[in-house]
Symmetry: C2
Subunit: 250 residues, 2 copies
C-alpha cells in the first residue's frame, strides 16, 4: 500500500526522509537542519535538502548555496555543494524568482509549491532527504505526509516551557497525519561563559519534558554557541569547524 | 477619508494603534509586546492587546491573563487584568475554543478571525491598542491596514544580519499596504555575564542597520536577560520587577 502511494515522486520509499519541525520560530530549526545535512554529507553521503520554510528561506544562506533554479526535462534541479566526502543538494523557496516569492510570502501558493518541490524535482541520486518546514506546520505536514509516507519527524525546541508546549501541538498534528515522531532536539540548552559560569538563558528542561511526553528519545542538547550563529551568517555551518561533536552532543 | 474608513470598528481614529511585527519568529516580539503593554498600563492607561499570532498564542501566558471569551451584545469582551494604575485588556486567538484553534492552526480562517477580533469586539474603553502579529506577516498586514488606517508598525529584530534581512521584507510589505513604520526594536542585543564579559550571542548591528535602511529611529536595544524569559513563563512580565528601564533602555 505504501509503495502504491509513493511512486508519484522520484524519491524511492527506502530513502530516509526527515522532516525537521518546531512549534515556533527562532528555536534554531533551520540552523540544525543545515548542520545536520553537512554532518551527514561529510561522511560520504548525498544529502538532499528541501527548504519549505517560506518565511525563513534560511537554508540557502546557512549552507552557502546560491544560484537560480534550473529545470531539465520538466524537473527542477537542486543546487549542489560538496562537503567532505559527500554533497548537499538544495531546493529552496528562497531560490525562486522574486514575484513567486512575493506570492509565497502571502501564503497563497505554499501547498502547491511544496508539492512541486517534491514531485517535479530531480531527487533521484540522494541517500537522505531533509525537509525544513515552517514552524507550527499544520497543512504542510499533511501535504508532506501524503507525498512521502516514509517520512519521520524530528522536533526542535528550546528548554523553555512555552516552546515545549507549542512543540507538543506540532507533534499532535504530525501524529494526526500518521507521521512518526523520531525524537526531540533541544537547542540553546545553556550558555557557558569563558569564566566558567553556565547560564540557562532560555529556561531548563523543555526538551527532556517534551521527549518524555511524546515517548521518544531526546536526541541532543545543543548549547548556545556564537560559532553556530556566525557560521550561519557566513554560509559555513559550524559543524565544518567544530565537528558534529562540537554541535551535536550525541 | 480616513474617518470615513474607520467607523467599521469600535476603535476611534484617535486611539493610537501599534502593530508589533517581525520578519521571523523567536526574536522576542511577543515578549516585547507584553512588557510594553504592561509598562504603558502601569502609568494609568487602559491598554488593549490583540494577539493575532496564531502559532504563538503567547500573550495569554505572558500576561498571566486566562479565561474563556464571552460575548455581550454581539461583541467579544477582552479579558482584563490590572497593572499598577492601569489595566491591560486581552483578546487572543489562544482564548478561543479548541476546535476553532485547530482551524486557525491550519491557517484556514486567520484573516476572518483577525477581522472579527477587531470589528466584533468591544474595544470602546482603551487608550492604546497593541497588536501582536504572526512573523513575516503578509496578508495580516493588509487586513489590519484596511480596518485600522491609523495603525503604525514597530519592527522587532535581533542583531543578526539574517533577522534584519527578513525584517526588511516585512517592512516592505507594510509600506506597500500604507502602514507607517514607526521604529525598530533590537532584542537580544547581547548578554552580560556576572563576571563582566559581554557576549554578542546573536551577532551585532542588525537593529542599527535596519533602522538606518528604513530611515526610522532605533527605539531600543534590549539585552538578553533570563528575567525576561522567566517572567514570561510565570505570566509576570519582567517590566513589573525591573521597571521599564530594566527592560527597555529608552
Ligand atoms: N545553538 C545555537 N547557538 C547560538 N546561536 C544559535 C544556535 N541555534 C540557533 N542559533 C541562532 O539563533 C537564530 C535562530 O535560529 P534559526 O535556525 O533561524 O531558527 P528557526 O529556523 O527555528 O527560526 C539564528 O540567528 C541562529 O544563528
Ligand atoms: N531580551 C530577552 N532576554 C531573554 N530572553 C528573551 C528575551 N526576549 C525574548 N526572550 C525569550 O526568547 C524566546 C522567544 O521570545 P518570543 O517573545 O516568544 O519571540 P517571538 O514572539 O518573536 O516568537 C522566549 O523564550 C522568551 O522568553
Ligand atoms: Zn562570565
Amino acid at each position: 500500500f505504501a509503495q502504491a502511494r509513493a511512486p508519484l515522486t522520484s524519491i524511492p520509499y527506502q530513502t530516509p526522509v526527515l522532516m525537521i519541525a518546531s512549534g515556533k520560530g527562532g528555536v534554531g530549526k533551520s540552523s540544525i537542519t543545515a548542520n545536520l545535512a553537512v554532518a551527514i554529507a561529510q561522511r560520504g553521503f548525498r544529502v538532499g535538502v528541501l527548504d519549505a520554510d517560506i518565511w525563513g528561506f534560511s537554508l540557502s544562506r546557512l549552507l552557502g548555496i546560491e544560484g537560480e533554479l534550473q529545470a531539465r526535462g520538466g524537473k527542477m534541479q537542486p543546487i549542489e555543494r560538496p562537503f567532505g566526502d559527500g554533497v548537499v543538494k538544495l531546493l529552496s523557496m528562497g531560490l525562486l524568482a522574486d514575484e513567486d516569492q512575493a506570492l509565497l510570502w502571502r501564503g497563497l501558493i505554499v501547498q502547491k509549491a511544496v508539492a512541486q518541490f517534491i514531485e517535479d524535482a530531480n531527487w533521484s541520486d540522494i541517500d537522505y532527504l531533509l525537509i525544513d518546514t515552517p514552524p507550527g506546520t499544520g497543512d504542510i505536514a499533511m501535504t508532506l505526509a501524503r507525498l512521502l509516507p516514509q517520512m519521520g519527524q524530528i522536533l526542535v525546541t528550546t528548554p523553555s516551557r512555552a516552546a515545549q508546549r507549542v512543540a507538543q501541538r506540532a507533534a499532535d498534528f504530525a501524529r494526526k497525519s500518521n507521521i512518526r515522531v523520531l525524537g526531540v532536539v533541544e537547542n540553546m540548552s545553556g550558555f557557558l561563559c569563558s569564566c566558567g559560569v553556565r547560564h540557562a538563558l532560555f529556561g531548563e528542561g523543555g526538551g527532556r519534558e517534551l521527549a518524555t511526553q511524546l515517548m521518544v528519545p531526546l536526541l541532543s542538547e545543543i548549547e548556545l554557541r556564537p560559532a553556530i550563529g556566525e557560521g550561519g551568517d557566513r554560509g559555513e555551518p559550524a559543524v565544518l569547524l567544530e565537528g558534529p561533536e562540537g554541535v551535536f552532543h550525541q
